[in-house]
């Protein structure tokens, strides 16, 4: 009776556990075994045309292939399902020569007809599809013969080949998509990737089996196929502390969704390895809505930018896993312009105060700046998760120091997208993945994308013209020149305060051989060809 029920049941469980011999269940390394990958959230559906989620990308890269692939530097193009391609002189027609040895998981041969079918399904007008802008302004996509695809554009698109390496361009089985309808990518997915889609239990796990006979992996990888592991399980562990503990306990072999605070602990643990990709681009920033009364003045925007100490945010909130950013996109990204003046994006509270004084703002009795009886009060919309909340609070306290009163309104993941389409806030906080400078510029700074995702309401003909020039450039130099200039214009306009560049960190457990993560779309395991048990 004195014994607490807790310890009683623990003792009971202990005996049971010992009896069951609770070693992590796994096959021997000879047949490749089972690798369990952990993550905190599940995809909505595994359909490259209808999902924009990272969780969908993670699986789609493994079960399917793209025509073109990108190297570890995210700058060099490599063959994928297409072994080579040519571009016409006018920059409008791409001709892709496909490999002739590719088969789907069900054994059917992959041909040019499947590329056409895939693209037709994605670009079908009025369908509930996402990210179609990545495909460019398509005129027609046709099969010249069984292994030749002619991709014709209405206007040149210098970004197309880079975008084609992304998961939305994963080649599907168009017949299966037609037959399954709404269940496509839910009950089944027939792909050409290194793994075959076996089953999906939403919010629990996705099970993938090795695609026997797969030999067409990208040449830059250490393994072109078949995959080393017999089975890959993508396991959902919603609570991040549990996920971190699962790696220590050997129940999960690798993950990059562990909380930042746990990384120091894994670094100290000799059985786990921290692996980082050569390049991976995700930038956290504060966007400024320049149509709002107080944000119209560039001096106020620069003062807000200079008042915020992003190094402190990088150290205290990201535990050093992110570096402070002083540009809208990483300096390692393709077409970054090194001549951009980064001084307005640093930390200089004195200069911030001076700029506000220049703009006519003076401190009132309560320490908040005033001009003509109006207080300098701003509203920030942000995400209601722990790292965003802490970053928003840091921003609030930094701004308070120069006399700006910042109201925080944080919303859950589902609610915020609707709120961000309103015009009732001055600043918003977000992080975004991108491929290169052109990707970032096209997404956020075109006037055609007002009011969303161009939430700054930046409508500028010069920017539009430069981005268009970059998009339509038919050679790399012209593209670089135009994007670099566009980058300079939007940085000079002070539309964002860049906070940090977050880098992907894969924690690999004791059973896994170290491998090179890939940074594309933030899906670090990429196609899974390099995953192998010790």
């Amino acid at each position: 009776m004195r014994k607490s029920p807790l310890s009683l049941s623990l003792c009971l469980g202990l005996a049971l556990g010992a009896a069951a011999g609770l070693a992590p269940a796994a096959g021997s390394a000879a047949d490749g075994g089972t690798i369990t990958l952990g993550r905190s959230s599940d995809g909505d559906r595994y359909d490259p045309h209808r999902s924009s989620a990272l969780a969908a990308a993670e699986v789609l890269y493994m079960v399917g292939d793209t025509l073109v692939t990108l190297g570890y530097d995210l700058q060099t193009l490599h063959p994928g399902l297409a072994k080579s391609w040519e571009l016409s002189d006018d920059g409008l027609t791409y001709t892709f020569h496909l490999r002739d040895d590719v088969t789907y998981c069900d054994g059917r041969k992959f041909t040019a007809k499947d590329v056409v079918g895939t693209m037709d399904r994605w670009l079908k007008p009025d369908a509930p599809n996402v990210s179609t802008w990545k495909a460019g302004n398509v005129d027609s996509i046709t099969a010249a013969d069984d292994f030749t695809v002619v991709y014709k554009l209405q206007e040149p698109n210098s970004a197309l080949l880079y975008q084609m390496a992304q998961f939305n361009f994963v080649m599907i089985d168009p017949e299966q998509a037609e037959a399954l309808g709404e269940d496509f990518g839910v009950t089944a997915f027939n792909g050409t990737g290194p793994y075959c889609f076996e089953s999906w239990q939403p919010r629990e796990s996705v099970v993938l089996r090795r695609h026997e006979g797969y030999t067409w992996g990208p040449e830059f990888m250490s393994n072109q196929g078949p995959a080393k592991a017999e089975t890959v399980i993508w396991k959902i562990v919603p609570e991040e502390a549990t996920l971190a503990a699962s790696i220590t306990a050997g129940e999960v072999d690798a993950s990059y969704s562990v909380p930042s605070w746990s990384l120091a602990q894994f670094e100290a643990d000799p059985t786990t390895a921290l692996l980082r990709p050569e390049a991976s681009f995700r930038t956290h920033y504060l966007g400024m809505k320049i149509t709002r009364p107080n944000m119209q003045d560039r001096k106020v925007r620069e003062a807000v930018s200079l008042a915020i100490d992003q190094s402190a945010i990088a150290d205290a909130i990201f535990f050093g896993t992110a570096e402070p950013a002083t540009a809208y996109y990483s300096q390692k990204a393709l077409d970054y312009n090194p001549e951009i003046d980064q001084s307005p994006f640093g930390y200089d509270p004195e200069r911030a105060a001076a700029l506000l004084a220049e703009a006519g703002w003076a401190k009132g009795a309560d320490g908040v700046l005033e001009k003509g009886g109006e207080k300098l009060t701003l509203t920030l919309y942000g995400f209601n998760n722990s790292s965003s909340r802490e970053a928003a609070e840091a921003v609030q306290s930094d701004l308070r120091k120069i006399g700006v009163d910042l109201a925080l309104e944080l919303y859950d993941n589902t609610a915020i997208w609707g709120k961000l389409r309103e015009q009732t806030y001055d600043l918003y906080q977000m992080d975004y993945p991108y491929l290169n400078a052109g990707d970032a510029l096209n997404l956020y700074f075109l006037s055609a994308n007002v009011p969303s995702p161009n939430r700054m309401m930046w409508e500028d003909p010069t920017t539009d013209k430069l981005i268009e020039d970059g998009n339509k450039a038919t050679n790399g130099d012209a593209r670089h020149a135009a994007y670099a200039e566009a980058g300079k214009v939007v940085h000079d306009a002070l539309l964002w305060k860049p906070l940090v560049n977050e880098s992907l960190v894969v924690v690999a457990g004791a059973r896994l051989k170290p491998f090179q993560p890939h940074g594309i779309s933030g899906a670090g395991f990429n196609n899974g060809l390099t995953l192998e048990l010790k």
Partner: protein, 313 residues
């Protein structure tokens, strides 16, 4: 007895319609848009509109609810707007693990609570009584997620138990080893209230005349407590346990998330977070129904436990 039951069923039906309406309206007033969620951070206005049309979200609200009621009336809970899965099938698949978890936690927590309460009641005012009461107050006050996280740290360090997920059928060694941590964490919620209620109810009856008579005729202490006093004390305890099932379901949501247990709680949270209206509605309906069923069962148990109830009906 039958009349009572019918009456209960009638009122329960009205409660369910109310739950449907409130659940539907609450999901509508949330400033969430599933179309915007699906389109993601880079979604354009045109894409979001196309997805909205596809999901039928452009229809008037009252019309959407009417369509929903019609479907529910014929037993069709609809399909998830996110992945087209049948809501009924998803609920059934999640119901079994939740039921397992709740039963497993009750299986150890209720007897422990009863024993602790009875123990305290027979030593009322003594040191042991105070210790048990302190323990039960602690059990009520310590949040389940905190206990859960501590257990996970313990299990990760010692590797005695699997930390996450549900393994094998429950009756195998693997199944049992998976359920021990979550069931222990969840059961702690129940111990406190059960022990306290048992102590109070038993303390009242232990001083009653008939207990004195039982003692006087020479019955053993065990028989006095378990047979005579407990008979009367059951009523308030069963009432409390019925009510605690609701608390347990709330705790199950947290426990399931921490231990990656694939139950209804996680399903409901996941559906609400992804604005999956039909699935969230289905989960709310399911939890409400479960709660009502438990209450009816408690009502029926009164009849079994208390002859007066049987006779009055």
């Amino acid at each position: 007895m039958i009349g009572r039951l019918l009456h209960r069923l009638m009122t329960s039906f009205l409660v369910l319609v109310g739950v449907l309406w409130i659940g539907f309206m609450m999901l509508q007033v949330l400033p969430a848009d599933p179309a915007a969620v699906i389109a993601g951070p880079t979604g354009t206005e045109a894409e979001i509109e196309a997805i909205r049309r596809h999901l039928g979200l452009d229809q008037p609200l009252a019309f959407q609810f009417w369509l929903y009621l019609q479907r529910v009336a014929v037993g069709d809970l609809g399909r998830s707007v996110i992945n087209n899965a049948s809501v009924a099938a998803e609920l059934l698949r999640a119901a079994v693990p939740t039921l397992e978890l709740m039963l497993a936690s009750m299986a150890w927590a209720v007897p422990s609570g009863l024993l602790l309460g009875a123990f305290a009641a027979t030593r009322r005012g003594g040191l042991m009584d105070r210790a048990v009461m302190a323990l039960s107050v602690a059990g009520v006050s310590v949040p389940v997620f905190w206990v859960g996280l501590l257990m996970i740290q313990f299990a990760a360090a010692t590797r005695f138990f699997p930390i996450q997920g549900r393994g094998g059928p429950l009756w195998t060694a693997e199944g049992l080893s998976h359920i021990i941590l979550p069931a222990t964490a969840l059961g702690l919620i129940l111990i406190g209230p059960t022990a306290r209620m048992t102590r109070t109810a038993l303390a009242d009856t232990l001083s009653a005349d008939y207990v004195r008579t039982a003692r006087a005729k020479g019955a053993s202490e065990l028989r006095v407590v378990a047979d005579h006093a407990m008979r009367t004390a059951w009523l308030p305890i069963v009432t409390l346990l019925g009510l605690q099932v609701g608390t347990l379901m709330g705790g199950a949501v947290v426990t399931e998330t921490i231990f990656s247990w694939p139950g209804v709680g996680r399903l409901a949270v996941g559906a609400i977070v992804s604005s999956d209206y039909p699935l969230a509605q289905g989960a709310i309906l399911f939890l409400a129904t479960a709660f009502i069923v438990v209450n009816i069962v408690v009502d029926l148990l009164y009849g079994v436990l208390d002859p007066r109830v049987r006779r009055s009906a």
